[in-house]
Amino acid sequence: MRYSAFSIVKNALSGNLKWKPQWRQAEPKSHYDVLIVGGGGHGLATAYYLAKEFGVKNVAVLEKGYLGSGNVGRNTTIVRSNYMLPGNEPFYEFSMKLWEGLERELNYNVMLSQRGVIMLYHSDGQRDAYIRRGNAMWMEGVAAELIERDQLKKMIPFLNYDHARYPILGGLLQRRAGTARHDAVAWGYARGADRHGVDIIEHCEVTAIRRENGIVTGVETTKGFIGCGKLALAAAGNTSRVGEMADLKLPIESHVLQAFVTEGLKPCIDHVIVYGGGHFYISQSDKGGLVFGAEIDGYTSYAQRGNLATAEHVMEEGVTMIPGLSRVRVLRSWAGVMDMSMDGSPIIDRTPIDNLYLNCGWCYGGFKATPASGYCFAHLIAKNDTHPVARFLRLDRFARGYAVDEAGAGPQPNLH
């Protein structure tokens, strides 16, 4: 059923009883050409592009929980392509472009809101680093603007210009960046993949990877054995656990990142604002809640819950950046398990096992990458060849000395 204003009216007039499930509850077949482990944004996007762009239709997505129960449903919904390093920027810009056409591509309103992401700077050194980044963006053809303090005051008057511990000197703005409705991304890709024949199998946990002669032949699951021609992992925070089933040695640690939402408020914050004196970032959802977060809790964790000390620190940064937040009440906190890589950048690559493919290491940045991650991973799986924009995101980059270290923090995941 195609979605449109017309379909809404038509269905309403028949009592809204004729809407169909947005995707089928598929039961697993015995064999698929491609099995994708992980029914989150990346797994579903991969399945969608495999079927739609690369003609691989005999595909199933296996999800151990409910669809979208991982990080796609527990992030702060930010979409941007303001990276500095050549290993990252072309990839994220490719993603940004896919975002811009996603609603029509999927016939699903993911509510992409290009309201602008601004990253504040508080010292000359930080400004110079942002200029370097802004120029790197321009090199890739991505518009960036340096907003100086006076201009910023007009644009965002409620920031802490006068009493801040670290003065707000300006910001780097990407106007095309913004937010999207996170759950809708998962549902939209699921619906799209389903329409192209992909089987989406929820509540189906992979328990083992079966190999014969060094090749993956299928997976054992809670719904029985499922055979496959190629196996693709998009398991985010659970990458190490799934990888272990195939004896993969991975440069990944799972960390917990909290996010928060306030009570609903009338429109007050029109951009995505990122504090440079810490990691704090905030935007307002269309429902009115202020959605925000900051750094990871710091220890490895598979529990989707956070720590009060970190939460308090996030609030400190918040009121330091926007004093007027002080009386706004925080409604809820939640947490996701991040697949933090050793250089803070993702991995989309083959593995030492010929028909096993890997997509992981998304750290904080997985949501914005969803379309490109799916596209590039599908490209890799279908053609056995790396998509050009993902050519630096290789698994062997650490051994070869080509880390893509955006933060310059070195091989300690909790510093990225």
Partner: protein
């Protein structure tokens, strides 16, 4: 854990007194060890769901690196030992 760590030197302390360095189960290879050994030491992590050993430095207290044996799913702490003592016992 997550909220409190019992430092063997300073007693029960809140999480914010600690800085977390990472996996404590890794042994620094000999300088002559293979490229692979060095790669694995610096870049590869077992990342278990369950018990793990981690270095937490008590920066707000004695500044010792502690080896915290902890469950990454339940967040239960099983033991906390001094990092140097742990290192000696494990043959460094």
């Amino acid at each position: 854990m997550a909220s409190l760590i019992t430092c063997p030197h300073c007693g029960v302390r809140p999480k914010e007194e600690f800085a977390i360095r990472g996996d404590a189960s890794l042994l620094r290879p000999a300088p002559t060890a293979s490229d692979e050994a060095w790669h694995d030491y610096v870049y590869v992590r077992a990342n278990p769901r369950g018990r793990t050993l981690e270095h937490w430095q008590h920066v707000g207290g004695c500044r010792r690196f502690l080896v915290v044996e902890r469950d990454t799913f339940t967040h239960e702490v099983h033991s906390v030992t001094d990092g140097a003592a742990f290192a000696r016992e494990n043959g460094r």
